[in-house]
Amino acid sequence: MTQYAVLIGCVNDKTGKRYAPGDVVLKGDFPVRVIKNWLEIDPPVLAPLPDDDLPGTDEEE
């Protein structure tokens, strides 16, 4: 998985970018260890997005 739905607001001090619930975090927006913690913590900060649910991906009919 390379993208994650933001469930709880978060911020990367190094980039200054803030994420609100509903935003999408990309792999690489935060360190791997941080993403792992945020997936596992109670309550979780991020939820994994299946790759075929990536925003902007159109399904062919």
């Binding site: 978060c10 911020v11 190094k14 941080v34 109670d42």
Partner: protein
């Protein structure tokens, strides 16, 4: 070279008692270790319809320490008023600054209290505070351990900031509680958010205070679950300024 306050003098000079939206820190304080932590001076009177308090000295015990809430001379305390017959729930933070004004990461004792004197009005120089304190086990049911840290020393906030972080050394998993004291506001409009982090660089929201700094107030905020190693108070300013203080404790 300026003299440096030492030992007990540091405690006397740099201890702050924040109750609701009032700063009850006085110039006269004393600390001692005592087994019995509540002491009252019997110089105040009551009648059936109203409670009147004579100026006097009160001590309140906090787990072995005693602190004066007011001394026996006229002081300009913030006025605490209650609607007669009502019960009041508020928060108390005792911040121990040691060698200076309490700030991150100075220790703080967080005690939600359940009731002020019913129907009482406190004018300058006269004050009595009755508080239900922690149990012998050192915990308040539903809140947790009272020992925490200062996340924001009493200061005027007028800009957006991430605040200084506190390093707890490790994460904890038993929840948390925090106090916000808003002492005054000048058309303030803020968001006050407790954030936590594993690496002191990427933070996520732990809890958001309802109070927005637009009026004097106090608030207890609680949460369950994991608190990562680092915590801080993130402030987002929309308008104005406010004087606030924030304390935080892990359960």
């Amino acid at each position: 070279m300026a003299a440096v306050a030492s030992g007990k003098d540091k405690q006397l000079r740099y201890t702050r008692l924040w109750v609701d939206s009032a700063d009850l820190s006085g110039d006269s304080r004393t600390f001692s270790n005592a087994e019995n932590t509540l002491e009252e001076t019997p110089d105040w009177g009551w009648d059936a319809s109203a409670k009147s308090f004579l100026r006097g000295r009160r001590t309140v015990g906090l787990r072995g320490y005693q602190a004066f809430l007011n001394d026996d001379t006229a002081r300009a305390f913030a006025e605490l008023k209650m609607t007669a017959g009502s019960e009041h729930t508020g928060v108390l933070s005792l911040a121990l600054g040691g060698g200076g004004e309490p700030a991150v990461p100075d220790p703080a004792i967080l005690l939600p209290f359940t009731q002020l004197m019913d129907g009482a009005s406190f004018a300058d120089g006269i004050g009595v505070l009755q508080i239900d304190f922690i149990s012998d086990a050192g915990q308040i049911s539903g809140v947790g351990k009272p020992l925490g840290v200062v996340l924001q020393g009493k200061a005027t906030v007028n800009s957006t900031s991430n605040g200084s972080s506190h390093d707890n050394g490790a994460s904890t998993a038993d929840g948390w509680h925090a106090h916000l004291h808003v002492f005054s506001s000048a058309s303030g409009n803020f968001s006050f958010v407790i954030e936590h982090s594993t690496d002191d660089s990427a933070f996520s929201t732990l809890g958001t205070f309802t109070a927005d700094g637009s009026a004097a107030t106090s608030e207890l905020l609680t949460g369950t679950g994991t608190v990562n190693r680092y915590t801080r108070l993130a402030i987002t300013r929309t308008a104005g300024s406010a004087v606030i203080a924030v304390t935080f404790a892990r359960n």
